[in-house]
């Protein structure tokens, strides 16, 4: 089975590490971690992920800016993106029907089952 590629972007290495462990253990995914916002685009160009999990508040670059970079770059524009953020509460997410400004979003802390079903829903076909 071909493993699907996930790029996990978050300034907190322990979080991306945990994501990698959890997702890779399922045997269905290969996860690349990126903890520097400024390096995201080049990592994505090299790694060709099938989905990007994107933090919003990071010390060096804002998630929304990265989103616009991904969406304007030829090589990354078609990659589905899911925000994974601590700026929203779960209640707000429910009200926004799981999206933030039109982008699918999950509120931290996130349950693995919810994360997996979200990834499967939006994964690049």
């Amino acid at each position: 089975m071909v493993k699907r590629k996930i790029l996990a972007v978050d300034d907190e290495p322990s979080f991306t590490r945990m994501l990698k462990r959890n997702l890779e253990r399922t045997g269905a995914y290969e996860v690349e971690e990126e903890n520097l916002g400024t390096r995201c685009l080049s990592t994505a160009r090299r790694f060709h992920p099938d989905l990007i999990l994107l933090d919003i508040i990071m010390p060096d670059v804002e998630g929304h800016f990265l989103l616009s970079q991904f969406k304007t770059d030829q090589t990354t524009r078609s990659i589905p993106i899911v925000f994974l953020t601590a700026t929203l509460t779960k209640e707000e997410m429910r009200k926004n029907k799981g999206a933030l400004e039109g982008v699918p979003a999950l509120a931290k802390p996130v349950d693995m089952r919810l994360l997996l079903s979200c990834i499967e829903k939006y994964l690049k076909k």
Binding site: E12, S14, F15, M18, L19, R21, N22, R25, I57, A86, T87, T89, K90, E91, K95, A107, K108, P109, V110, D111, M112
Partner: protein, 410 residues
Amino acid sequence: MDLKKFVGHLNEERAAMRVGKEGIEPNGLSLENMKGALSSLVESIVWTDQEGKIQWSNDPFDCLVEQKHKKVLGSKLIDLMPLMQNGHKLPSRLYPVNLLLDGEHQVRELYQWQKPSGKLLDLEVSGVQMDWNRSGKNAFVSFHDITEQKHTEEELREAQLQLIQAVKMESVGGLAAGIAHEVKNPLAVLQMGVDYLANSANGTGEIQAVLRDMKQAIVRADNVIKGLLDFSVSRKLEFVLSDLNPLVNRSLNLVKHELHKKQMTVVTDLAEDLPKICVDRNKMEQVFVNLYMNAIQAVLKGGTMRVKTYQKRLVKIGKVVGRRKTDIFKVGEKVVVAEIEDTGVGIPEANMDRIFDPFFTTKPLEQGTGLGLAVTEKIVQMHKASIDIENKPEGGVRVTLMFKVKGENG
């Protein structure tokens, strides 16, 4: 010259008194002179004979009691001005005049008096006892209307309290938004870690139980953060003109699972044609959900929750109803009311003063953060509405929410 100084002056003069045409007169000061002097004071002044009957009054006193001078003379204070203290009728023996005639040399007290027109006055009454012409005691009493002054003081105090509260809330709000982000990130790591271990620890049930507890603790911490965020004043409310009943029903729908679990009966009595109210629908839904959840958690299996809405015109002064600027509602105003009643155990009286305090809870840890009612009260206040929680005599709790009707007294 105030009354006390004036009488002190009289007493000093007393040594040099002599008998004149009008009885005993202080040196160079006849009774007529003194009456003239007292008449020009703005304070309301009377003096009485030893039976407490008014022998003399000045114009301000006659105006205060709204009586003709002739009617005032010979009357007793208790008949002209039935006084109250702390909301109770003042017993006759405690009237300032009677205290003085019974031997007190001096009195100074605050009283209330409801004028025949209905207006409630706050009066500062001071008096001295004197033996004017050695023919018996006289009471000499002045009345100072401090109603306006008291109202101003009260308004000032309330404004100060509100300001302190607002500053507190703002600092909590600002802090909460900052903390939320910083705490949720480590929580997210913990949650991922626990999920990882739960899926790999194929071992004992005990390890699984520990991991379940840890996961619950993470959820609880996340709920506390959510509660704190609800305080955040930076989250502005979005007011829209709405009907109350659909909001009541939508919120009921959100807790139907919990209602079902407890096999509860819900009785709704929602009045038709309620006037619209101005609310932030999401926030007000949160208020109703919080109150429903409290009711659900308070009742035993198979209990009942009643939800009632109606409109009414406020006729009585109450906790939040009055005539002052600081009162949320004015007497005569039309309001929309929602009542939520349960058949639970009620709230111990000792806890009543604390139920709105942040982090005060009597629920088991996994059920309550102690922020539900604190947030509820905050949201209600931001709507310029009111919330009242009381134990019903027959048991259980009644929560009453009152909302302003658009176009009614601002």
